[in-house]
Every structure is written in C-alpha cells, then in structure tokens.
C-alpha cells in the first residue's frame, strides 16, 4: 500500500509537466523587440536585442554583457521569431522582455496580432513597455547605445519611469495596462513614442560610447493616440501634458506662464484630476476638476511676492494656463482623433449603463466627440522656494 502510494505521488509530480529545464547558458535573453513592417514583401521584420552576449572573456568575470541584435522576417510574429531562433545558437527566451517598439507603420495597421501572440506566450512577463517610433525604424532605435545604461532596453525602460516622474509628456503604460484598455469598452489606449536624436549610424557603434558626447541618443517623445488597436497619430507636447494630467499619470509638471515680457514657472506636485459625469435631460455632462499644490520655481518678472494679492493673481494666471493645457488635450482627442482616451465612456458605463450601452457602438464618433466638457482648475501655490522676491526685485 505504502509503495503504491509512493509511486502514485511520484507519477503526480512527473505528470504535472513543468519540464522546462534550461541551463542559463543555453538561453538567449531577449530584452527588447523591435517590430517593423516590410511593405514590399508584406512581412514583419522583428529585431531582437539579446543581452547576454559575452563579447570577450574578461567581461564575463565581471558579469558585464554586450548586446547583439538579431533580425528575423516572417508573415507572422511566430515565423519571424523562428527565423531569429535559426540564427541564434541558443534558445530564444522572452521572459525578461523589457520593451517592445512598434514602428509607425505596424502601429497604424493595428497591433492586435502582436498583442495576441504575446498574451499567449506563457514565458513573457506582461509588464514590459510598449512604444511607438515616430518616423524611425524600430530596429534603428534598438541599436542606439547609451553610456548611462548598460543595456539599451533598460535604458528605455528606466527612461520611461524617470520621465513620468518629472515630465508629464510620457505615460507609464505597460503591456497589461494596454491590453486591459483595449479589451474593456469605453476607453481608448495611448502609448508613449520614441525618437532618435543625433546620428543613427554612429550612435549604434560601441565607439560612440567612448566619446563624452555620444553620437546618438534616444529620446522619449509625445503620446501616440490609438483607436482600438490602430495608431491614429501623435499628440504635441502640450496635448500630451493635457492627456496625462487628465489621466492622473503626471506626478509632477512644470507650467510656465507669461507675465509682463517674461515668464514665470510653477511646478505642480501630484496634480489630481477627478472626472464627474452626469446625465441632465438625457444629455451627458462632463466635469473635470484638477486640484494641485505647487510652488514657484522661476520668477522672471518684477512682482512683489510678499503681497498675498499678487500671489492670488499669479495663481489665477497659472490656473488659466493649466486649464488651457487640459483643453488642448481634450480638443485634440475630441475633434482631431475622435478617440475617448480619457475613459469617459467607462465612467458612463458605470454610472449610466443603459445610456452607455445604447451608444456604445458609436460612442467615440458620435457622443464623445460632441461632449461638452467643463474644466476647472484649482491651484494652491504654497511655497516660493528659498527666495522671497525675484532677484531683480531683491536688488532694488
């Protein structure tokens, strides 16, 4: 009896099928994928950044690596990846994927196919970033090396994290966020975009790293607006900021506004936006109200900051300019792309389900684009930094 039980136990463990034994030096760790489209042949061209290339043996001891990019072609994602596998002596491992970059063409055609493949792939971690290149080939972006980060893909990923903290231009949206937005009704996805500055060719050479000013660099750019899985276009900086402020994606943002002939700048910390929706006489009413605390970081004008009245007028000005930023974002989404990237539809779905379901099919084009959205901004400028007045004022 005991032996039978033991055999049964052993069989249970063997049958559960986790037989994926892989030595670490038998896998090629892919940290970034770039997906381009070859229009002539109508094939996907995938570039995979493999991060555990050893270069020289002296690197190995210190645990440093060089990256290698392998390109593969195919009508489907799987075929292209198989093509890469044929070129690599090691097994392609997607578990540590950090970033996937779509070229503009691929994104415009729709990313459903790719998303489907990645969702089915059991190895991948679903927490990588998705990016869209603006005007560039995705493979070129992957090739750019940075002296500040050992791995190009890490370079992009940490850039996104850092940029969402300090600039409201980039959105910290990973793959699972993107898929969730795509599947649930009432919201359209956005992604960050990426650009190359400087020289493409020299920036991909290791010799570029030896210069104090690298030949090329990658730069995160404005938001890419999607409708369903298809790219519609790119927002400009102001619009991107507006979108991020509305979506509460911005942790900190600097706002500049004119005073006299010069500028003054305030920094808003943790701005918080609430969207309230209601139906009045069967007409949708949307209110956005942004509250934030902030402080003045630059003062170019000759103003007496000790006077509470001045602060009041300054605050009004900043509020107006912030509202302008929000309105720019709203205008773009409503009029230019007709894509409900703010998730207003989802709010209606929760509060007024029957109303939303009636209009679900033409929500973006018919209802969202014609919504009247009221914007209210409430700022509280708390500190003026370490300086009471502007330097000019202090001098006099």
């Amino acid at each position: 009896m005991k032996i039978k039980l033991l055999v049964l136990c052993c069989i249970t463990f063997l049958l559960c099928g986790c037989w994926n034994y892989n030595e670490l030096n038998q896998i090629a760790i892919v940290t970034a994928l770039g997906i381009d489209k070859d229009k002539k042949e109508n094939t996907y061209q995938i570039s995979a950044t493999i991060s555990n290339a050893h270069g020289t043996q002296s690197n190995t001891k210190e645990g440093q690596s060089q990256t290698v990019i392998i390109e593969g072609k195919g009508h489907t994602i799987s075929e292209a990846l198989n093509d890469i596998d044929l070129q690599s002596p090691k097994e392609i491992y997607l578990g540590s994927l950090n970033v996937i970059i779509f070229s503009e063409d691929v994104a415009k055609e729709g990313v459903n196919k790719i998303a489907d493949f990645l969702m089915r792939e059991p190895e991948s971690r679903k927490k990588f970033y998705l990016l869209v290149t603006q005007d560039e080939k995705a493979s070129d972006v992957l090739q750019i090396l940075s002296p500040l980060e050992a791995l190009p893909s890490q370079n992009i990923a940490s850039n996104i994290l850092e940029a969402t903290n300090y600039q409201a231009v980039v959105a910290d949206i990973n793959y699972s966020d993107f898929i969730r937005t795509l599947i649930e009704p009432g919201k359209q996805p956005v992604l960050s975009s990426i650009k190359i500055t400087g020289d493409k060719k020299d920036g991909s050479k290791y010799s570029s790293l030896e210069q104090s000013k690298p030949a090329g660099a990658i730069k995160l750019s404005n938001l890419a607006i999607f409708k369903k899985d298809k790219l519609l276009g790119f927002a400009n900086k102001k619009e991107s900021q507006g979108i991020n402020l509305i979506a509460n994606e911005a942790k900190r943002i600097t706002i500049e506004t004119k005073c006299d002939n010069d500028y003054m700048v305030a920094e808003l910390n943790h701005p918080h936006n609430t969207i309230t929706v209601s139906l009045q006489n069967n007409k949708p009413v949307v209110k956005m109200s942004l509250t934030s605390k902030g402080n003045i970081t630059e003062m170019g004008c000759n103003l007496d900051l000790r006077d509470p009245k001045t602060i009041d007028t300054i605050t009004k000005k900043f509020e107006k300019d912030t509202a302008d930023i929000l309105k720019a974002g709203i205008h773009m989404a409503q009029k230019k792309y007709k894509s409900d990237i703010f998730g207003i539809g989802r709010k209606f779905q929760k509060s007024y389900p029957s109303y939303f379901h009636k209009h679900q099919n033409n929500w973006d084009d018919e209802i969202f684009s014609k919504l009247k959205i009221q914007v209210h901004v409430d700022l509280d400028l708390e500190t003026k930094g370490s300086l009471e007045q502007s330097i000019r004022k202090e001098e006099s």
Binding site: F13, C16, C18, N20, Y21, N22, E23, L24, N25, I27, I29, T31, S51, N52, H54, Q57, N59, T60, K61, G63, Q64, S65, Y93, G95, S96, N98, E123, R125, L151, Q154
Partner: protein, 489 residues
C-alpha cells in the same frame, strides 16, 4: 575470599594476568598476614602511603599483641579514608581495583577492605571549547563523573534533584546517572528512560552518544532528538524546565532529552541577554536555518527551471557568469558543496599547526582559481558561502550534519522538478519532522502542536517576568516557574 593471603594473591594474579601496573605486597602484623594490592596506573602512591601505610606502621606495631586478634576490625575502624568500603563479593574486587581502590585482605577474613586511593587522571574544569558564549558561566563538564555531577549539584541545591545511577557496559562498567528534579520532571519519562537503559546489553560505553542511539531507537532520522552539551548551565536550565539529563562517566558530554527542533535554534546564552535582542538573534537563527537548507536548491530551481523569477538584470548577469562553465548548474553546486564539506572535515581533523594551510588553499582554490579557470561561476561560490556561513550558526554537530543531508535532498528535488520539486521536498521534510518524537514529546512542539504559552520561549523569548510557566510539553505538574512574590516586585 577464602584461604591464606598467598593463595588469594595467586588467584588474583591469575585473574588480572601479569599486568605491569599491578602491585601487591604482603605484610606481617604480629602473627597475621595482610595483603594489599592496587593498580599503580589508577592509584595515587601518596594516598596509599598517607592513609594506609602510615596508620598500620605507626599504630599497630606497638600494640601488636592486644589488637592482633581483631586486626580486621581495627583496620576497618582506624584507616583514615572517607570512602572505605567492605567488599563482600569476590568479583567486585576487580571493579574496585580498576577504579583506583586499594584492596586489603586480612588473613582469615572473608570480607575485603577497599580504600579509595584514586589518582587524578582528569583535567580540571575549563572553558567549553565547542559551545562558546560571550556572557554567562564559563565552566564546562570534564571527563570526571563526580565533578560533572558536582557542577550541577552546586547550582541546584534542591533535595528533589535526583541522580539515579545505573551501571552499563559489561566490560567498561561505566557509571551513568539519570538526573532530574523529582517534582518537576515527568516520572513516566524517567521510568521509560531507565527501562531503556536497563535493557541495553553492551560491552562498553565510551561516550554518551552510545546511549543516544539506544534512547531513540525506532525512528530513523538524521535530526538529533537528544541534545548533547558540555555546558552545566544548559543542563541546569533544562532540569528546571523538566527535562531529563544523562551523565556518563568519562565523557564531558551530557545528554538532555527530550530535544525539540527549537532547542537547536537556541543557546544557553539566550537567557543571559536582553529579551528583545535575543528574539532578534533567534529570528536570525531561524532564517539561517531556512537559508542553509534551501539556498542551493532555490538557486538551481530558479536558474534552470524558473528563470522568470529572477529580475532581468540579475538574470543577464548570471547568464554571463555561467557562459564558460562546462557543467550543469546542479553538478556545479553539488561539486562545490562536497568540496566545502571535505574542507570542513579536514579542518576539524587536522592538527592546529597545519590548519591555516588548509584554509589558505581552500580559500584560494575555491574562491579564486576555480572561478578564474572557468570551472565554476562566481555566483555559485557565493551561494555555497552563504549556505555554509548560515550552517555554522548552529553548535550541535548532529544538527549541522543533518542539515547537510536535507540540503542535498532539496538540491536533488530542485534538480528534478525545479520550484515544484522544492515544494514537494518541503512537504516531505515537514511531514518527516512532524512525525518525529522523543520520549513522547512531538519534535516540532511548541510550533506544532501549537501552544501560545510555550511559544514565549521558542522562536522568540519573552521577558523573564512573562515566563511564568514551564512548557506543558515537558512537564504537566508543578508548572509554575515564577511565583507571585517576584511578580509583585
């Protein structure tokens, strides 16, 4: 023994052979002959001269005629020796002789007078070498049985402290004391131990560990179920907790039973330091217990099956380090583990003078050369180093070696099935531990079966004024440790 002294001497010499350390002499006092004999190797000449020779030579010579008739009684009453014994059975003579007694035969008398003239063959009480502590009593047991009992008796001056003696070993005739406090310890347990000891028929007991194997015979487990210690303070703590201690002649290691798993995560010093600090130390030891058990297995599982569990950068770094290693990870880990165990073993056995050479070679060969040669990856050296360091936190040799066994077991589990294997191995490990018991006490107590009161001094230690009762797993009667009088202060 009957017959005249010459015959007796012949008989004894027949029995012990012509041992070079056997000394005998026949004296004539008046018209009576007496024979005295002893083993030179275990007897002290000084004592014999002082207690015996001086007496008979100064006293009896002048009163020959009056006392000769009653020489036996005269000797019995006048020899200045506190341990003077009369031996009735002839076969006992050899035990006494071997124990350092001098036997005196008086012609015509059947009984033999034995006087204690032991030579001091033991080292004095010194500091413990295998269980070092920073704060607390420094003395440790020696090979001298009576000294060991004395170290306890002077600490616990309670009339209820029992030291029941049993003699074991057909040839060694080793004295064994079962020590317990009568109104605390579970007397059924004492009875059980006595019965088990009495049922042993062995030729010799050289060390207390001989008995340890007999006391937990039915369960095969590498985990020790009996503590062996050379610290008297630990023995006293255990006695006061209701445990039972076994002293064996000629060994400084005293057995304490029952032992629980948590006992091996504790040190006697835990009771001499501040409770909060001790709790932290004990949690460290618990962590070290898990780390030393599981680290190599988890490393193998994670790097060969479940790579997705490693953060990206670490994964890349590990992959690069492994690039030129020609062996599978599991083999690499096992190889290094075995080399480390060999190094440890050699470190124990080697004379102290050459010991440094071993550590230099070990550190250089393992730490640097092997990595540079590309035979093993640096991370595996780190893994084995962490494992070994954590293993060194425990003082009990049996416990450390048993951890080694289970560590290799987990490595096999991980090699076959990865994380699933470790989980399966963990289930087997816990089941095994939970099934163990020592004289009726579950090995995992007080964690399982759980008891909140007993847990106040297990993985953590509560302040002393909160430790009011003894663990119910050790004793059910007389449970109060801390009285009201102390509490009110």
């Amino acid at each position: 023994m009957r017959g005249n002294v010459e015959q007796i001497l012949k008989k004894i010499k027949n029995e012990v052979g012509h041992s070079s350390d056997f000394f005998s002499r026949i004296l004539t006092l008046g018209n009576k002959k007496i024979l005295y004999c002893f083993f030179e190797s275990v007897s002290s000449d000084d004592k014999i001269s002082n207690f015996f020779m001086k007496g008979i030579t100064s006293d009896i010579r002048y009163q020959e005629d009056t006392f000769v008739e009653d020489l036996f009684f005269h000797l019995k009453n006048t020899i200045i020796n506190s341990k003077l014994t009369l031996i009735e059975k002839p076969e006992d003579i050899y035990y006494y002789l071997s124990s350092g007694f001098t036997c005196i035969f008086v012609e015509g008398y059947q009984k033999v007078i034995a006087i204690e003239t032991k030579a001091i063959l033991d080292r004095s009480v010194s500091e413990s070498s295998s269980e070092a502590i920073i704060r607390g009593p420094k003395d440790s047991f020696t090979e001298n049985y009576m000294v060991n009992l004395g170290l306890i008796r002077k600490r616990i001056k309670d009339k209820n402290l029992r030291m029941d003696e049993v003699k074991l070993g057909k040839r060694t005739q080793t004295k064994i004391a079962i020590s317990y406090i009568k109104d605390i310890a579970d007397l059924e347990h004492v009875k059980m131990i006595q019965d088990r000891l009495n049922s042993i028929d062995i030729d010799g007991v050289i060390d207390s560990s001989y008995l340890a194997e007999f006391l937990s015979p039915n369960q095969h487990s590498s985990f020790p179920k009996i503590i062996s210690t050379e610290r008297p303070d630990l023995v006293c703590q255990s006695l006061l907790n209701g445990k039972i201690c076994i002293f064996v002649e000629n060994t400084p290691y005293v057995l304490i039973l029952p032992a629980l798993l948590v006992d091996f995560l504790q040190s006697p010093e835990d009771h001499y330091q501040k409770p909060s600090n001790v709790s932290f130390t004990r949690i460290l030891r618990t962590m070290a217990f898990l780390i030393t058990l599981l680290t190599p297995a988890i490393y193998i599982a994670v790097t060969t099956f479940n790579q997705e569990m490693i953060p990206d950068r670490l994964l890349i770094s590990l992959a690069i380090q492994r690039e030129f290693v020609p062996f599978p990870t599991a083999f690499e880990v096992l190889m290094l583990m075995i080399v480390f165990e060999m190094l440890r073993e050699s470190d124990i056995r080697i004379p102290k003078i050459t010991g440094t050479a071993i550590s230099v070679v070990g550190a250089l060969v393992l730490g640097d050369a092997a990595v540079n040669a590309g035979i093993i990856s640096p991370i595996v050296v780190i893994i084995i180093a962490i494992t070994s360091i954590c293993g060194l936190l425990f003082t009990d040799v049996d416990f450390v070696n048993s951890l080694r066994f289970w560590r290799i077991f987990f490595v096999f589990c991980a090699t076959i099935l990865g994380i699933v294997g470790i989980v399966a191995g963990g289930i087997i490990f816990i089941t095994k531990l939970a099934s163990l018991e020592c004289i009726g006490t579950p090995y995992l107590a007080p964690l399982s079966p759980f008891n909140a009161k007993a847990n106040k001094d297990a993985i953590i230690r509560a302040p002393r004024n909160k430790l009011k009762t003894r663990s119910i797993f050790l004793t059910k009667k007389n449970n109060t440790r801390l009285g009201v009088k102390h509490h009110e202060n």
